[in-house]
C-alpha cells in the first residue's frame, strides 16, 4: 500500500488579478521508503502542492479546489486541523523554503528544536535539549554545544538551513518533505546531509519528497523524478529513465540548459574585457505562462518547438510513455524521441511565433 496517495489535487488562489491555477489535477503515489525528486519551473506549483496537503496555504486567497491526499489511509485535506498539526512535524517532517514555517528570530535554536520534539509529547524538555545538540552535530554544525544556545541571526544562511533540517528530522518521521532544503549549502555539507538522508531512509524506512532545482541532487538522491510545469506533472518516472530517455520537451529543455558537465571537458580561459564572446547557456525560449490565464492545452505548448496543433488545444493526460521503462509517464501529445530525429536541436519552426 502506498504511504501517500495524491489524487487529482487542484489548488487555486483567488487574487485581485484573477484566479491563479497553482496546481491542477496532480496525481501520484509514493511508496514507503521511496525518494521522489520534484523539479520544475519556478511557479509551477511545487511548493504549493506540498503546502496545500499539509494545510499550510493561506486561505483565502488559497483554496483546495479538488482532490484527495491519502496518508496512512486518511485524507489530509478533510482532517481536523488539530490532528493535521500533530501529523505535521511528527509523522511528516517538513523543511521549507517558506519563511512562514522557518525559524523564529527571538528564540534560541535549542529552544526551537526542543519545542519541535516536546510539542508532540515525544520526550521530556531536558532530554529534548540534549537531543538538540545531537541533531546539530548530525547535520554537521561545528561546535554544536556552543552553537545551540545562539539565535538564528547569529547563524550563516547555510547554518540556519541545517538547523531547519535538524527540526525536520527531529521526530524521525515516516515522510520527510524538503523544499529546497540544501540549496543554500556548500556542496560538501550538502553531500554530508544527503548521506544523512540516505541513512535515515535506510534506518527508518523514511520516504522523501525532495523539491529542488538542482538536477545533480536529484540524480544522486531520487528513486523517481517528477517534473512539473504550469501546475501539472509533465513527466514522472525512474531517475535514470527521465534523465537518459527524456520524454517531455520541458524536461529536455531543462537538462539542456545546464552548464556542460561532460567528463574531460576543457574550459577556455577568459580574460575580462576580451572582445571574444563567451559561450552562452541554452535557454528555453519564451516565458512561463501567466497562471491566472493558463493556456487551454499543454501549458508548455507555447514554448515547445515540438508542439503539435493538438498541444495548443487540449491538455494531454499523464500516461505511460511509448516503449519506455515501466512507470515512466509523460503528458505529451507529441512523441519526443520521434520529433528529435527530424529536429535534433529543437529549432523553432519558421512559421511558429508567439501565437497559439
Amino acid at each position: 500500500m502506498p504511504l501517500l496517495e495524491v489524487k487529482d489535487l487542484t489548488v487555486r488562489f483567488d487574487t485581485g488579478g484573477g484566479t491563479v491555477h497553482a496546481v491542477s489535477g496532480v496525481t501520484y503515489a509514493l511508496e514507503p521508503g521511496e525518494t521522489l525528486g520534484v523539479v520544475g519551473e519556478s511557479g509551477s506549483g511545487k511548493s504549493v502542492h506540498v503546502l496545500s496537503m499539509l494545510g499550510l496555504i493561506p486561505k483565502p486567497p488559497g483554496r483546495i479546489a479538488g482532490g484527495q491526499v491519502i496518508f496512512e489511509g486518511r485524507d489530509l485535506l478533510t482532517m481536523p486541523e488539530g490532528e493535521l498539526r500533530d501529523i505535521r512535524g511528527k509523522k511528516i517532517g517538513v523543511i521549507f523554503q517558506d519563511p512562514m514555517t522557518s525559524l523564529n528570530p527571538v528564540l534560541t535554536v535549542e529552544t526551537q528544536i526542543a519545542e519541535a520534539i516536546t510539542s508532540h509529547g515525544l520526550m521530556s524538555r531536558k532530554a529534548a535539549k540534549a537531543r538538540a545538540v545531537e541533531l546539530l552535530d548530525l547535520v554537521g554544525i561545528p561546535e554544536p554545544q556552543k552553537r545551540v544556545t545562539q539565535y538564528p541571526h547569529q547563524f550563516s544562511g547555510g547554518m540556519r538551513q541545517r538547523a531547519m533540517i535538524a527540526i525536520g528530522v527531529a521526530c524521525e518521521p515516516k515522510l520527510l518533505i524538503a523544499d529546497e532544503a540544501t540549496t543554500a549549502l556548500d556542496v560538501t555539507v550538502q553531500a554530508q546531509i544527503l548521506d544523512l538522508m540516505k541513512d535515515l531512509k535506510k534506518k527508518l524506512g523514511m520516504a522523501m519528497i525532495w523539491i529542488t532545482h538542482d538536477m545533480g541532487v536529484v540524480a544522486g538522491l531520487a528513486d523517481n523524478v517528477q517534473v512539473m510545469y504550469g501546475g501539472r506533472i509533465m513527466e514522472r518516472g525512474p531517475s535514470r529513465a527521465v534523465f537518459n530517455d527524456t520524454r517531455s520537451a520541458y524536461t529536455w529543455g531543462l537538462l539542456r540548459s545546464l552548464p556542460d558537465h561532460s567528463e574531460g571537458r576543457v574550459y577556455e580561459t577568459h580574460t575580462p574585457g576580451q572582445a571574444k564572446k563567451r559561450p552562452r547557456l541554452q535557454q528555453i525560449a519564451g516565458a512561463p505562462p501567466d497562471m491566472t490565464n493558463p493556456p487551454p492545452g499543454d501549458p508548455f505548448a507555447p514554448r515547445n518547438p515540438f508542439a503539435t496543433e493538438r498541444c495548443h488545444r487540449e491538455v494531454p493526460p499523464l500516461v505511460q510513455a511509448r516503449d519506455a521503462a515501466p512507470g515512466h509517464l509523460v503528458a505529451a501529445w507529441y512523441d519526443l524521441p520521434q520529433a528529435l530525429l527530424t529536429n535534433p536541436t529543437g529549432a523553432v519552426p519558421a512559421a511558429a511565433g508567439e501565437a497559439a
Partner: protein, 303 residues
C-alpha cells in the same frame, strides 16, 4: 588595460569578528572570526567567483564591501578610493556603482511596495527618471531584461514565487547600471532554465556594459561557466585563488579538492559512481599563508 591603474575593487586584509556572548563584565567570551584577513582584487569587467564552506564568511565579505557591515580591520578600495574613509555624501556616487543582489529573495523586497515601485526606487532616488510614465517605461524594460512580464509591475512580492522574486531583485540591482554587482547566491533560488537566462544575462550585461561581479555561489558548475577567477573560502580565510581553470583542473588545497569532488553531477549513472574526497574540516593553521603555486594561482600552506 594599464597595468598600473587601480583595479575596480581591492580588498586588503579584510577582517570581521563577531562577539556572540559576553561574560558578567561585558567582555566577549566567544568570538566568531567570520572574515579573517581576506585580500583580493576584482578588475573592470571581471567576474570573481567566491565559493566555499557555508559559514566561511562569503556573505560577510560581500556585506563588508558594500559597507553594510563595519570591518574589524582591513580596507576596501573602490576605483582607487578607500571607501572606509569616505563621508556618507562622498559614498553616495559609489553606491550607484556598487549594487547587490541578495541570497534571500524573501527579505530583499519591501512587502508593501508594488514590485514595479521597488525596481524603480533606485532610479527615482538618483533622479534618473523624468516622470511617472518614464519610470514605468524604464521599469518595464528592466522587467523584460530579467525575463518578467511587465504587466506584473503592479503586483506585490507575496504574489510571486521564490524564483520570480529573485528576478525582481536582479532588475532592481541593474537599474542604475552599476560597475560592480555583489551577487550573493543570485541564482540559488531560481529554477534551472531561469538560471541559464540569468547567467546569460550576467554575461550580456558584462559584455555590453563592462560590469564586474563578485559572484557568491555554491553551484560549482555555474561558477565554472561564468567566472574568470575563483576564490575558495574556509573558516574566514581564502584557502585557494586562481583562474577558474587553474582551480578546477588543478586544485591544490585539500579543501578545494574535497569541494570539487562533492559537487553533484546531473547524471544518475555518474552520480552512482562518484567518490567524494573527504575533508576533515579543520580550520587553516594560524600561520598559514597563500603561496603562488603557478602564476596567478595561490594556495594556502603552512608557514
Amino acid at each position: 588595460m594599464n597595468a598600473k591603474a587601480a583595479p575596480l575593487l581591492r580588498v586588503d586584509g579584510l577582517t570581521k569578528h563577531f562577539h556572540t556572548s559576553k561574560n558578567l563584565f561585558g567582555k566577549p567570551t566567544h568570538t566568531v572570526k567570520a572574515v579573517d584577513g581576506v585580500s583580493f582584487e576584482i578588475g573592470y569587467g571581471e567576474t570573481l567567483g567566491l565559493v566555499g564552506e557555508s559559514g566561511s564568511g562569503k556573505s560577510t565579505t560581500g556585506r563588508l564591501i558594500l559597507r553594510l557591515e563595519e570591518p574589524t580591520a582591513g580596507q576596501v578600495h573602490f576605483e582607487g578610493q578607500e571607501i572606509g574613509k569616505l563621508s556618507s555624501s562622498q559614498l553616495s556616487p559609489i553606491r550607484k556603482k556598487l549594487q547587490v543582489v541578495f541570497q534571500d529573495p524573501f527579505s530583499s523586497l519591501n512587502p508593501r511596495l508594488r514590485v514595479g515601485d521597488s525596481v524603480g526606487e533606485p532610479l527615482q532616488t538618483h533622479g534618473l527618471v523624468s516622470g511617472g510614465s518614464d519610470k514605468r517605461d524604464k521599469v518595464a524594460a528592466l522587467f523584460r531584461q530579467v525575463g518578467l512580464d511587465p504587466k506584473f509591475m503592479d503586483r506585490f512580492p507575496h504574489q510571486f514565487s521564490g524564483g520570480q522574486r529573485q528576478r525582481i531583485g536582479i532588475a532592481r540591482a541593474i537599474a542604475l547600471g552599476p560597475k560592480l554587482i555583489v551577487a550573493d547566491e543570485p541564482i540559488t533560488a531560481l529554477d534551472v532554465s531561469i538560471q541559464a537566462q540569468i547567467v546569460n544575462l550576467f554575461l550580456d550585461l558584462q559584455e555590453e556594459l563592462g560590469m564586474a561581479y563578485l559572484f557568491i555561489a555554491h553551484d560549482l558548475g555555474m561558477v565554472r561557466h561564468l567566472c574568470h577567477r575563483v576564490a575558495v573560502m574556509l573558516r574566514g580565510r581564502i584557502v585557494e585563488m586562481g583562474s577558474t581553470e587553474q582551480v578546477f583542473a588543478n586544485p591544490q588545497h585539500p579543501y578545494t579538492q574535497a569541494l570539487i569532488s562533492a559537487a553533484p553531477i546531473p547524471d544518475p549513472d555518474r552520480e552512482a559512481l562518484r567518490r567524494r574526497i573527504p575533508y576533515d574540516l579543520v580550520p587553516p593553521p594560524p600561520g598559514a599563508v597563500l603561496r603562488e603555486v603557478d602564476p596567478g594561482h595561490w594556495a594556502l600552506s603552512a608557514a
